[in-house]
Amino acid sequence: MTSYAVLRRRLRARAAGVTAALAALVLALFVVTLSVGSYRVPLDDVVVSVLHLGENPAVDFVVNGLRMPTALAAVFAGLALGLAGTIFQQLLGNPLASPDFVGVSEGAGLAAVAGLTVFHVSGAPISLLAFGGAMTSAALIYLLAWKDGITGYRFILIGIGVSAFFVALTGWVVARSEDWEARSAMTWLTGSVGQAGHGEIRALVVTVLLAIPAAVVLRRQLGVLALGDDAARALGARLELARLVLLGLAILLVAVATAAVGPVMFVALVAGPIAARLLGPAPGLLAAGLAGAVVMLTADLIAQHLLPASLPTGVVTGAVGAPYLVWLLATSNRKS
């Protein structure tokens, strides 16, 4: 028994260490995001400027005024998507069941675009609308995929269909809106952390900061790993409720992230598996969220600075995420 306790303690220490390392990496990438660009700011000046330790108006404007919203959006949208993706994957017991692949993000995106172009609102109402869209989409997928329970693959295929439907409707809404330049509409539809408005970022930051502790606590309560539907039934009402609340939280996180940065593909899909690779199966939600933030920050740095022209973040995550997905399919097939 003692050796088991030792093992557990070791695993915990490893998890804490890896999580701390991920957090440090997020912080480092965050500072790099604030530092690079056509106006290069040395790293120490970034720290001085962010912490208001000194006064240099030009640097303060570039760092705090221009880059901070992008960097914040990247960190928090990454956290939100990483958490949400991992919650989906763990609760549905399928690595493909991430909200960006099955149409939850697309539902949020449709509602957000409609809010921007048809109702002309911005800020928190957009996030709220996106939440409505994501909930509708999730409910739709759930209802359509329900047939004496939810099997993983039917859920995912129906999700792909629902996703295509919402993408087409979003195209319709964009075509209807007259005051949108094609280019900005396309940037939005591909997802970009640079486009977030102040209101949407605030909604995102507040939601994520409140949701992370709640999600971590709920996840602990659930304890058991991936939950099949039968397992859920055996669990009793209180845990079933916790399960539903956790899913609701995940949908909320997807919604606020999508409202702020648009439908950035594949971050939610890859964050959990990356964390799992570092921590072993069923990684902590916090680690998965941080992995999401790392992916988002890195993708944005590549999209903004390493490519010949600055591109939406979603172009990079799409181009990098797809091969991963293919690899996932290939390897999971071999096992089955």
Binding site: L96, F101, L144, A145, K147, T151, Y153, R154, I156, L157, I158, I160, G161, V162, A164, F165, V167, A168, L169, G171, W172, A175, R176, E178, A182, R183, M186, T187, T190, M265, F266, L307, P308, A309, L311, P312, G314, V315, V316, T317, G318, A319, G321, A322, P323, L325, V326, L329, A330, N333, R334, S336
Partner: protein
């Protein structure tokens, strides 16, 4: 047998009517009388007649061949893969063709005109091979689920790269919407002539292939027992699919769901015999594509909605229905 012939004849009548609507409906009101005189007494100076002869009819012709190409490609794919979810759009074939054309034109500076059809063909062939190859890994082979998932994954990745390429070429931005979702708008006779021979040739091959598809439907071993060279047949038919999809995409951009929906409708009408499914698809698909195009012309009241968007809205529920009610996920 005679029932199937009658059904095909009835569908042809529907197709003719759809073409009529596609020719008559649009931003400019034209009368049936103008349509009549556009053929009997064509007057170069009558703009209404010109609109018919040089804009609506070419557009309708393009819809006809592209629709037929996509519908037949879908039925070939479903037969080849014995998979009810096979669709050139869902499997990423059209996205592959689009990526090849965009890369050729914008990065290498080659491929406008007929060369773009060849590029699209290569892209389509590569995507078909990739999706099928990925899905075939593992013991259970290329199941519908794995094909759809691999297709969705590749589509997402390739569309992201296509968007990236187009967005870095500001002057090509006008074309961006076109390369993201397909459209029949603004492409007149030259585009039609570019692709029509490719498509016509591939359609002839497909019509002949009905019996081979029936053989494949019995399973590989049985087909081999019947003396069929399964490997060769598959290779030729996959190439035909790639040619059909490549030509269609080169002309109109990536269009999804036509190839998915149409063979199922055909199967409902004429049963599981591919000698009939292929010609039925060839007639039903243009009806669907042209009808969606007409809806797109009228839906906004101002400007046009691309046919690809209309098909997404119409086709996605069919996909969901197939997954739910045909028990696909259990396969």
């Amino acid at each position: 047998m005679s029932g199937r012939v009658a059904g095909l004849a009835a569908l042809l009548v529907v197709l003719v009517l759809t073409c009529g609507l596609s020719i008559v409906l649009g931003a400019r009101d034209v009368s049936w009388h103008t349509l009549w005189s556009a053929f009997t007494a064509y007057d170069d100076h009558d703009t209404a007649q010109r609109v018919l002869r040089e804009m609506r009819i070419p557009r309708t012709l393009l819809g006809l061949v592209v629709g037929a190409a996509l519908g037949v490609a879908g039925s070939l794919l479903q037969g080849l893969t014995r998979n009810p979810l096979a669709d050139p759009g869902i499997m990423g074939i059209n996205a592959g063709a689009a990526l090849a054309v965009v890369s050729g034109v914008m990065l290498l500076g080659v491929g406008s005109g007929p060369a773009s059809v060849w590029l699209a063909f290569l892209g389509a062939a590569a995507a078909t091979a990739a999706v099928y190859g990925i899905a075939s890994l593992g013991r259970d082979g290329a199941t519908p689920v794995k094909l759809a998932l691999a297709g969705a994954a590749l589509t997402a990745g390739m569309s992201a790269v296509t968007t990236g390429i187009v967005m870095t070429h500001i002057e090509a931005l006008n074309a961006l919407r076109f390369w993201q979702v397909g459209s029949l708008a603004g492409r007149y006779l030259p585009v039609f002539w570019q692709v029509v021979w490719f498509i016509a040739g591939a359609l002839v091959v497909s019509l002949v292939a009905g019996r081979l598809l029936n053989g494949l439907a019995l399973g590989e071993d049985v087909a081999r027992g019947l003396g069929m060279r399964v490997g060769l047949v598959r290779a030729v038919l996959f190439a035909t699919v790639a040619l059909l999809c490549g030509a269609a995409t080169a002309a109109c951009g990536p269009i999804v769901f036509v190839g998915l929906v149409v063979p199922h409708v055909a199967r409902m009408l004429c049963g599981p015999d591919y000698r009939w499914i292929v010609p039925y698809s060839m007639v039903i698909a243009p009806v669907l594509l042209l009808a969606a195009d007409v809806i797109g012309r009228l839906a906004l009241g101002r400007g046009e909605l691309q046919v690809g968007v209309v098909l997404g809205v119409l086709g996605a529920p069919v996909f969901v229905g197939l997954v739910r009610y045909r028990g696909v996920a259990e396969l």
